[in-house]
Symmetry: C2
Subunit: 498 residues, 2 copies
């Protein structure tokens, strides 16, 4: 017999979920459509929404309902929806109660203001203008960490925000294996003289058509999806069957097809969450690593594979005959996989990508621990970038100002990109065990079986289980760098031989 | 000495204002961008935001603060910002406390669902599918009126929602003068054989450029404005310097320039509200009639005048040389002013427009009083339309399903369009008294003096004063149909002579 308290709890959590989705709509509009003058009002509105949501998150009544429901939850299988709901709601409630509402509001308002400052500073290549905002964000995040997890090291608390249970040592264990191997792979395979086929003259309208075609082929639907333009591509969910993707196009760059596949991976994950979980904290993805595992799986494991390009390359050639009619498939496939030394993370190839992340992880750890002052960040970036990637950074736009994450205080997010990439290979191997003819399907442009397998084995779970449990369930074990390294080595060796 | 209670009151009202603006962002997104699947979640979210805002509107604490502030307000001049704030906040607080939060939430959710049903029904020309939603909206509005103004007739209460103090008798007094006169003017001047120059082949991209040019010329700025596309054009304000306009284009119709001017009039009013009033209930326009007086002033009094077209017509000809190079200015000017019998209100000429409004006002009064059942509405529409405008209605898309207002339960809004048109002429006469060479300015494309006069004498006031007081202040007297009729007569006579 389901206790009456469950209905009330769900209604209260539903209200919080609605307010959070409203917050997302306002943030999305801020990044996609808002006229420049709207920034001040919007920052205030986001602060208000955060405060109103926070007040509801910490209500005593939620604690009473949870206490009432715990005996019921204890009698259920641990992966029963209701048992998971009580577990996750309790964790959220306890964490949120340690944060003053004024701090939650200040964080939301400052994030919006700081994002604006970052956009302007990046445009003007002016780190100095952004510096006070970054200092404020470091300070705010430290204050937040001190409230939520006074016993954890601050950076561990920040990691925990994106990946429950993840600690610096876990990150270090994986990254210390990856760094020398990736450095060696880049050194071995990067050829600065090779022509970059993805740079050229590519009509934006045609790129847009290709992006939309990919999202449809992977299983997205415009009944539920939208694709818009932003400075920094992202994906955000507003509700059941309301999934927003953003991307960007440049006339001289064909990498937008990878951005589309990346954001589509995020979108499919969110969209695949079981409808039973809607309007609860269990809806959507389980963690940042899992989220990134899916964006990277669709972007890279699928989207840079030879079978995929056997299907899609003729379409791209058809869209850009002048540029690509004479470029054979094998050469194009090598171009989208070759190791390169470049400045911009989001355009990086799969191999060097990890080094971009390791750089950011080291620097943000040092910012948070106090070992690095914000004022010294550009120099630290430039010198460590040159060590890791062998290039001198010409300006901060191609360096420390390129990513939006720190403007929002998202310290602890970057490592999940690389850990997600690592995990994506493990998940793909499990999918391949279940569907042995994946390659043949991709060659025919068939992605439904993979999508369905992922939906069943991962997406539908939402965030019912702890991330580490979800990872074990979908990947068969914890995060392991070896399959990822083997995958990269095999691919690069094959390309070299081709 | 300003009491401390004022700061707290403003902070509480600011939170409510932020939540209302967030509500507007979600509604705007719903009409402009949302993928079709998002409707259910969005309706729920709008209900939640309405409930959360309502709970804050009716807090006891606001009543305490108002009681504390009344002696202070009583000692101020009646148009002092703080005196107005206390007056308006008290009125809102008292009205809102008569409404249960659950009803406020149900209204917001049902409005969103009903809007969707209207969009689909209109597309399919299927009044039957929309009927239950309209019945629900009538019922909801009646319940709301019974809460807010139990002593008023329901339709009076609904009018009051859009125009504080407006009653059916006031409407009737003006409309009973207008109806026979407008009918006569249409009969006298409508020439069904005259070619409609605004119908043809007009590239949408070029229409868009013209629309944007007009908004800039009238004083709008893309630093604060955006122009997007919707089924039903509207204007909405998200905050200081964040003003959204929507419009629509059709390849075969040049009327979009009037839509742009109309929505721009709304936008300039909202934008001109004094910054001191931001985040208070005094920000923005004072009432629907005043709002419409400004959309109609810019669209018609300016936008259909000969001096205006002396300036703008060469630009339109330049944009559409094949269609208009051989059409002389005078003929074009006659085309945008000629009386016509047509089906669609928003495309109606200035003279017949009033008859479209009188039809809707009669029908919605009858719906609200119970004299007309929703099921009988299409027949009633069609027969009365034929009486007033002399045309048999071929289908409900060109008839009862054309407007979105009733889907949101906005009974009592339509009359403000015509009353606003009437007022627009009175306001323009006052502006002309102050700026005698308006015509010469418009001929040169100079609209800043008019914009500035309106800003100073109307827009900056926000909703500090009661609408009737604002009207007297800006127009020199109450709403009077005679100047409007004289303006129409003079224009039509001049056109006939031309």
């Amino acid at each position: 017999m389901v206790p009456a308290a469950l209905g009330e709890l769900k209604e209260r959590l539903g209200t919080i979920s609605d307010l959070q989705h409203a917050h997302s709509v306002l943030e999305w509009d801020m990044e996609v459509w808002m006229p420049p003058g709207g920034g001040d009002s919007r920052a205030t509105q986001l602060g208000t929404l955060a405060a109103v949501a926070h007040e509801r998150q910490i209500q005593d009544r939620i604690g009473e309902l949870l206490a009432e429901l715990e005996p019921y939850a204890a009698g259920l299988p641990p992966d029963h929806d209701d048992a998971c709901l009580v577990r996750v709601a309790k964790r959220d409630w306890e964490r949120m109660r340690r944060v003053p509402t004024s701090l939650a509001a200040e964080m939301a308002t400052t994030q919006a203001e700081s994002y604006r400052a970052w956009v302007a500073a990046r445009e003007d290549d002016d780190f100095h203008a952004f510096r006070p905002w970054l200092e404020r964000m470091v300070d705010l995040r430290l204050r937040l960490a001190a409230c939520i997890d006074p016993d954890l090291e601050p950076y561990d608390s920040m990691l925990d925000e994106f990946e429950e249970g993840l600690r610096q040592d876990d990150v270090q264990r994986v990254f210390s294996v990856l760094q020398p191997e990736l450095t060696e792979l880049v050194a071995e395979h990067a050829d600065p003289d090779e022509e970059d086929i993805l740079r050229g003259d590519f009509d934006v309208g045609a790129q847009q058509v290709l992006s939309r075609e990919l999202i449809e082929a992977f299983g997205g639907s415009w009944e539920a999806f939208r694709l818009d333009l932003t400075v920094h591509p992202f994906q955000v969910t507003f509700g059941r069957d309301d999934i927003r993707l953003t991307t960007r196009y440049a006339e001289d760059d064909l990498n937008s097809v990878f951005t589309a596949m990346h954001e589509c991976g995020h979108a499919l994950y969110e969209w695949g969450s079981s409808p039973n979980l809607d309007r609860t904290p269990l809806a959507g993805c389980a963690s940042s690593i899992l989220h990134e595992s899916q964006s990277r799986l669709w972007e890279n494991v699928v989207g840079r594979s030879l079978p995929f390009w056997r299907w899609f390359y003729p379409r791209v050639q058809h869209a850009f005959p002048d540029q690509l009619a004479d470029v054979p498939l094998e050469r194009f496939h090598r171009a989208v996989n070759r190791a390169q030394r470049t400045f911009i993370r989001v355009d990086a190839d799969e191999t060097s990508y990890g080094l971009h992340i390791i750089l950011r992880t080291e620097l943000e750890r040092a910012l948070v621990s106090g070992d690095l002052a914000v004022k010294d960040l550009p120099d630290a970036w430039n010198s460590r970038f040159e060590q890791l990637l062998g290039l001198p950074v010409p300006d901060d736009r191609l360096g420390v100002l390129q990513d939006s994450h720190w403007s929002g205080g998202s310290f602890g997010y970057f490592p999940t990109y690389l850990l997600g990439s690592v995990l994506s290979v493990q998940v793909a191997e499990k999918a391949r065990d279940a569907i042995p003819d994946l390659d043949e399907q991709w060659e025919r442009g068939e992605f439904a079986p993979l999508h369905e397998w992922l939906r069943e084995n991962l997406y539908s779970l939402g965030s019912k289980l702890a991330p580490s449990d979800t990872i074990i369930r979908v990947a068969g074990g914890p995060i392991d760098p070896e399959p990822y390294l083997a995958y990269l080595r095999e691919k690069l060796t094959a390309l070299q031989a081709a």
